[in-house]
C-alpha cells in the first residue's frame, strides 16, 4: 500500500479499511510527532497530541475532501491541538517541559559517548531556543525547517497569507539567532 496516494487511502479508510488508515498513520507519524514535539517541548505530551490528531482525523474522515493536500489538513489539526495544549498549559500556569526532558532522537547511541553527549547538548540548546519563540513564530519555523513545507503549505496550515509566513519566518529566524547567541549556541 506504500505506493498509494493519501486521498486514495482516505477513501479506503472511509469504506472501513482500517489497514488503509494504519498506512496513513505509518506515513505521517514521524513528521506529526516531530511537529508536536517541537511545538510543546515534551515527548510525552507530543505523543498524546499526535495520537489525538490521528484519532480525530479518523473521526472526521467523511468530512475531509481532497481540495488540499491530506498533510495540510493533518497538520492543521495537529497545529490546533498543540495551540489548545499550550493555551491550557498557560491557563493552568504550567510551563512547557524543559527541553532537557524531552528524550528526543539522539542519533546512534552506540557512537562514542563524548559525541553522543555533544549531540545531546546541541539538541538541548536548540530546543531551548526554539521553545523561547512565540507559538506563531515557532510553528512556521518548525513547519519550514523540520517538516520541509513550502510557504503555500504553511500558509494553509496556520491560516494566514503567504506574505505573513514570509515575514513570520524571517522574524522567527532573527529571534532564534538572538536566542542561540544568548544561550551560547552561536558556538555550536
Amino acid at each position: 500500500m506504500s505506493g498509494v496516494d493519501d486521498w486514495t487511502l482516505v477513501a479506503h479508510a472511509r469504506a472501513g479499511d482500517t489497514d488503509a488508515f494504519a498506512e496513513l498513520v505509518r506515513r505521517y507519524q514521524r513528521p506529526v510527532m516531530q511537529f508536536c514535539l517541537r511545538m510543546v517541548g515534551s515527548a510525552q505530551d507530543a505523543e498524546e497530541i499526535a495520537q489525538d490528531t490521528f484519532v480525530r482525523v479518523y473521526r472526521h474522515l467523511h468530512r475531509l475532501e481532497p481540495r488540499a493536500k491530506f498533510s495540510t489538513l493533518l497538520f492543521g489539526i495537529a497545529r490546533n491541538l498543540t495551540l489548545n495544549f499550550l493555551r491550557d498549559a498557560k491557563r493552568r500556569g504550567r510551563g512547557v517541559t524543559d527541553p532537557m526532558d524531552t528524550r528526543p532522537h539522539l542519533g546512534d547511541e552506540t557512537q562514542r559517548p563524548d559525541r553522543a553527549a555533544r549531540l545531546r547538548e546541541i539538541e538541548a540548546t536548540l530546543m531551548r531556543a526554539i521553545q523561547r519563540l512565540s507559538p506563531e513564530h515557532r510553528e512556521v519555523l518548525v513547519l519550514r525547517e523540520l517538516n520541509g513545507m513550502d510557504y503555500e503549505g504553511i500558509a494553509r496550515v496556520v491560516k494566514c497569507r503567504k506574505g505573513t509566513v514570509k515575514s513570520r519566518l524571517a522574524r522567527a529566524r532573527e529571534q532564534l539567532h538572538a536566542q542561540l547567541a544568548a544561550l551560547g549556541g552561536d558556538r555550536l
Binding site: R14, T18, F21, A22, V25, R26, Q29, R30, P31, M33, Q34, R38, A50, Q51, V55, R56, V57, Y58, R59, H60, H62, R63, L64, R67, A68, T72, L73, I77, R79, N80, L81, N84, R87, P104, H105, G107, I122, L126, M127, I130, E136, L141, R144, E145, L146, D150, Y151, R156, K159, C160, R161, K166, L169, A170, R173, E174, L176, H177, L180, L188
Partner: protein, 216 residues
C-alpha cells in the same frame, strides 16, 4: 530596502521563495555585509535541521489503531448539513431546525436585536449574513470577533471550509455536539451545557461560515 526587508528577503531566498531571486543574488555579490548575513541564516537553518524526528515507538501505531477501533466516525450527514445549500430540500429542514435552535440558544447575544425581531431572516444563515452586513455597515471590525480564539486569521477572506474542518476537529466539545446530535439528544439542552468559552468559539466558527458564504 531597510534592514528588516533585507533579512526577510534573504530568509525567503534561502527557502527558494524570494519574489526576485536574481535581484537577491546580485545583492549578495555586491554587498559583503548581506553575504555575511545570508551565511548566518544558512548556518542557522542547517543547525535547526539537525533536530532529527523523534523515534516513534512501534506501540504508537498499535495505540492509535486501538483507539480508532473504538471510535465511531462522524457520519457525512452531519457535515453535509453544514455544506449543502439550504435550497436542497432534504438538508433544508434539518438546517433550519438546528439553525433556529443555535440562533436561539447561542446567537441570542450576537445577532442584532432588530434582525432577530423583524422576522426578515427566514433561516439561520440569512440571519447570520444579515448580522454580518449590519456589523460591517456599522464599521465594526469583523476580524476582532475572532480575538482570543483558536483562529488567528489575518484576513477574513482567508477562511475556508478546510480551516473550519481542522478547527472543528480539534474541539472536544464539537465531538460531543455531534455525538449528542446523532443520539437524538435535545440540542437546546446540549448547547445550554456549553460553557462561555465553548459558546464563544462555536459562535465564531459559525460567523466565519457566514462570511465564507457557507451554509449552516
Amino acid at each position: 530596502m531597510n534592514d528588516k526587508d533585507v533579512w526577510e528577503e534573504l530568509s525567503a531566498y534561502l527557502d527558494g521563495e524570494a519574489a526576485d531571486p536574481e535581484k537577491i543574488a546580485r545583492l549578495l555579490e555586491a554587498h559583503p555585509e548581506y553575504a555575511r548575513r545570508f551565511d548566518e541564516l544558512r548556518r542557522l537553518s542547517q543547525q535547526v535541521k539537525t533536530l532529527a524526528p523523534p523515534d516513534v515507538h512501534p506501540a504508537f501505531l498499535t495505540r492509535v489503531m486501538a483507539e480508532v477501533a473504538e471510535t465511531r466516525p462522524v457520519q457525512p450527514s452531519w457535515f453535509a448539513r453544514f455544506r449543502a445549500p439550504l435550497a436542497a430540500a432534504g438538508a433544508a429542514a434539518l438546517v433550519v431546525l438546528v439553525g433556529a435552535a443555535v440562533l436561539r440558544a447561542v446567537f441570542a447575544p450576537e445577532v442584532p436585536v432588530e434582525i432577530a425581531a423583524n422576522g426578515r431572516a427566514a433561516t439561520a444563515e440569512e440571519a447570520l449574513l444579515e448580522a454580518l452586513e449590519a456589523r460591517a455597515a456599522a464599521g465594526e471590525d469583523i476580524e476582532a470577533w475572532a480575538e482570543d480564539s483558536l483562529f488567528d486569521f489575518d484576513d477574513a477572506a482567508d477562511v475556508s471550509a478546510d480551516d473550519l474542518i481542522t478547527g472543528l476537529a480539534a474541539e472536544d466539545w464539537f465531538d460531543k455536539l455531534v455525538l449528542a446530535w446523532e443520539a437524538d439528544e435535545d440540542l437546546d439542552t446540549m448547547i445550554g451545557a456549553l460553557n462561555d468559552y465553548e459558546r464563544a468559539t462555536f459562535n465564531e466558527l459559525l460567523q466565519e461560515y457566514g462570511e465564507e458564504g457557507m451554509t449552516i
